[in-house]
Symmetry: D2
């Protein structure tokens, strides 16, 4: 409970930042999916630390092994187990954390909830936890691609107060990956990198916004009233560490429009029903309408600072904590594959749910 | 699947806008809760149409009956069934809907997903569906109140572009209910009402923002990594019709702060560990930290307009549709009890989950 | 939790024997299923008391209303709500039950678990609870019939120690319904009826065994390792009041055979792979193999006796209780439609799960 | 879906007989449970092949590693990952299986369901799959022992037609483990061993019956109407490979008793309400009543024979298959720890559910 996600395509993740390793079990993967460990590793490499000079210099190879569920290059339909051993274990970097709570981290709430925590690192609240999500997301993205040429593309639109110009173009993976900051607008990407470097020099941190688009999605995904597509996406995104907000389509800015400005007019697009505009963000009444799915997620600045901060110790005494270690001044670029993964997990799950609910039976001529 | 919400305190809603009625089953309600039909009716009356001159003049009495699970004023621990018959059935108002899809409504996606829809009204996508949520929410709010004097309070902070001044005060229910627009700042409430009336005159509509706060919540609610408290709240809120966004604590604006500005410093508050500021919004690492829970939801303008709009018919031919009927120019005020209900459902569920996970056993002296 | 059954075709039942009524919500019913209230009422009439002179003379009309989810004779894909009001309320018949626990009933355990119970009758532990199951089962049986001409047939093979001769014939519904005892072997049925009447004269009761067969089931239903078809059937059957055992295929007697006697040899049956014998009962490795599904359920004798019995009162003092009222000396005949319903619910659910898991995607040529 | 079990104390297992390994993730384990890898290994050693001269001579060390969720000897409340690598890989022993379906095995149904199978061994249908269950069961049994001195004890009462005398004594673990056949009645155990050896000489196999008892269980576990304690136990037991039946208390034999013989009279046992007899098997109305829980499971004879058997190949052609390899002539002794594990998983889960449902809140003085 709490470490599984999805209904039919269901993942269960496990593992702390320090300890044996991190892993995921995918239960419900359709059989006969061609999948290789290289495809999984490709996505893990996008997520791991030490990719570029704007992320943490921590070296983590994050090498995945498929330990079950795949046979001769194809999924068996049985649970796919993926295992990534931990390495680079330096508990000494965390000595002070045993007795002091880091501000805006999960140390205090984990201790209060469970009465125990692995104080050698972030434990389960560490971003390492997301390895399992990205590994499973690689499988989900492969399914979407094969099943319907569906692309899930996330990228950064803002770092701190540096925002890329609005664009209706669906960026290519190459455009996103062209810069380590994963903003497909090169000039803005440059400025974002400068800002991250400047902030790092001060031992400070910044957050930002990720936008995610999905194209070629069929009509009909999403299950009202509670499992609306946007509701499940919102949960998926807010389950990612450091997120503070989610919006779909017009989002918060939609609330300052008149209905006559906001409504998406239905038109006939080459024989298919579509909408002239896409303020709905690809979802109406909780169900995909065939337009591009588009949503955004807000990330707070990294809580770890290389600065002195006031805090309390585990007995509640006020004290100070000097941040050290090798952390990211901005986690948002590395969150891009996580966002894509969570989106893909939601979409595969809803595809399967739709199939089960609406396509299992043919009562046609009877 | 899709019409149930919650894990341990689990509701299942049913019913369309036109047909027999609307109802909810609450499974997992703790036994011996004192609860009356009047307490449920009180919340339904806050939700129903026709409350004031800024909502739809449609008359719906929405009278609830408890059909199971309560005996001599107390819950039995068995499923609580609540039933609200439909009335005021005027299918003729919807004749055109049989053949034309209303823009930014769910007519098209329901038809595409299910291959059938109740074209006599919004069916399951109608706001009437939320009756079941509000009835169950009344029970959940009662539990929170009795269990820990926990208050869940939602109110409007913005209608269209009219926004109330920022305030850190937890408003009383009386302050919220003082105006039909449910904004606790009287001067702003006046302006909001004027705006709604003006927009209605044009057959147009507006959206807005609801803020929700919860006080006296214990530390420890929320289950990482997927069932974080904010993730489940985000899903709950985005499952409400007409919502486009969710943010907690600093939200989207938090992404333009530096880490050194954003971190919440831990302090000792009269012997208890707390935070000096609350940009986290009451949740850290997905778990409540004992501070006030605070989040906001964006609502789009009502899709129904009393205007002529372009659209397509069910065969995909482009046509026009003249809106008529008795709809709300702004649904946000009536959404206030829905937001509170969904929040309360999440919190009771997580309270029970926390109890089960962390308080079931005492391994203490062994 | 506890009052819902199924994963994709999911029912939630509510209602006590005394109070407003009994109902069920079916969530996940495929859209466009032709279904009428008469089809549901037909099955409810098979379940209700007062059908014949060997069941309780209690008159309960058990009239169902479909309150949502069906439009113009077809399912909408939204939750189907079915409501059966209670009637014939005679709480005076239960006065003593307020203070004394009936032996082998659920009075004591409900009181101990919940700290409260509706002492005006069996409450939620009453057989009236099964009304919701049978109503939902009628829908499930209709789906199976239309989808694959699948028949689910239950019947009594034993009452007390009177057992019908072994038969490999799949009985018709008419053969089952020919006798009020629902044993398709007329001579045995006669003896069973005599035994039930004799036992009733003594104020005593008897149990028996129901066998259930399903024909035309496709290969592939069931999800190892935990949701094997027989595991879900076992749960379904043991969830029926008064059941004490479940066996599939060779069952308990299979454990006294040698492997060489027990194995089902694969043969080619007109081009399809089948088995020569069916000791497996239609399931191998938890998955249906295309042979007839066959299983049996043991029912204990009715706990209610029209005799004086020793017991304790709610304070634990030893006392006596004189049974009265209008109860069934043998509930097994009325349990036949309940068994069929639970079996049908499991099968529809697994059909949908199989479709989702193994038929959602075509990775074929890629 | 299908490879997870439990609601609040939830396990997900993964792994095939041939491939990387076998594992389990336990999600929802209460924090601060003292647990060591040795306690887990102890139970795995009871399950593994090669323990004695009546089981398969296959050597599998089945060495477990805890890869997450435990810190300094205590559970963290986060997912506990346990990993057991595969070894002794001899795919050549299975060459023929690639093209022929073994009778009464899962080869055919897996191939038919998934369109693919790992033909190098039993894959997911192999008994190796139960390693994950037993590892998780060791944790569950530890919880029950610490929480309430609850003992879960399974043992063999019958092998083929050799049955131990009825006994009301709760056997000790030492008595069960005294003989490799795990029957606590020494004289019968001897005969069972002789029978197994005789059958093995013929290349044949036998099944049997396991009885399981639980003592010190509190009143109140089980959730009507669907998640009755016996229903969840039945599912748990029928999910174990090679099982064909389940009965609780009087079981199938209860159906030949009169109600007046079968009812369990309530009495006062030193100030606590109990029953004079225990035909209910410790459960009434689906809820534990404080008496000893007692149930039995039927196992079919092992499907693998060292004999020539008729079968079909994957194209449906009739052919023959000569069994070889190192299989168990009777799997029932090794199933004893599996039965205990599944029972313990159900009981911990229901303990937590009961706590959540009935003990989360105190509405007492309000």
């Amino acid at each position: 409970m709490g470490n599984s996600f999805g209904t039919l395509f269901r993942i269960s993740t496990w593992g702390e930042s320090h300890g044996g390793g991190i892993g995921v079990v995918i239960d419900g993967c359709p059989p006969r999916l061609p999948i290789t460990v290289e495809e999984i590793q490709f996505e893990l490499d996008r997520r791991r630390p030490g990719q570029s000079d704007i992320t943490t210099p921590r070296k983590e190879s994050d090498t995945a092994t498929i330990v079950s569920g795949v046979f001769e290059g194809q999924s068996l339909g049985t649970p796919i187990g993926i295992y990534v051993p931990n390495g680079d274990h330096r508990p000494s970097a965390y000595t002070e954390m045993k007795d002091k709570f880091r501000p805006s981290h999960a140390d205090f709430t984990y201790q209060a909830k469970f009465g125990i925590r692995n104080h050698e690192g972030g434990g389960r609240s560490s971003a390492r936890e997301t390895i399992g999500r990205v590994a499973a997301g690689a499988v989900a993205k492969k399914i979407l691609k094969l099943a319907g040429d569906i692309d899930v593309r996330a990228y950064i639109t803002r770092v701190h107060d540096i925002e890329m110009p609005a664009s209706s173009v669906f960026p290519t993976l190459e455009q996103v990956e062209a810069s380590p900051v994963r903003c497909p607008h090169p000039a803005t990407a440059e400025k974002m990198i400068e800002r991250i470097k400047a902030v790092r020099k001060d031992g400070d941190s910044v957050g930002g916004i990720i936008e995610c688009r999905v194209r070629n999605l069929p009509v009909g995904l999403g299950v009202p009233v509670f499992d609306r597509l946007e509701a499940d996406l919102a949960k998926a995104m807010l389950s990612i560490p450091a997120t503070k907000g989610f919006e779909i389509g017009s989002g918060f800015s939609g609330s300052v429009q008149l209905g006559s400005e906001h409504n998406d007019i239905f038109i006939n697009k080459d024989g298919k029903i579509g909408t002239e505009t896409n303020r709905s963000g690809g979802v109406q009444g909780g169900i995909s309408n065939g337009e591009e799915l588009i949503f955004r997620i807000a990330f707070k600045p990294t809580a770890t600072l290389i600065q002195n901060q006031r805090t309390v110790d585990t007995d509640g005494n006020e004290t100070e904590l000097m941040g050290r270690g090798r952390h990211d001044p901005c986690v948002v670029p590395r969150a891009v594959p996580i966002v894509e993964s969570m989106a893909a997990l939601v979409l595969v799950d809803h595809w399967m749910r739709h199939q089960a609910h609406c396509q299992s039976f043919d009562f046609g001529g009877k």
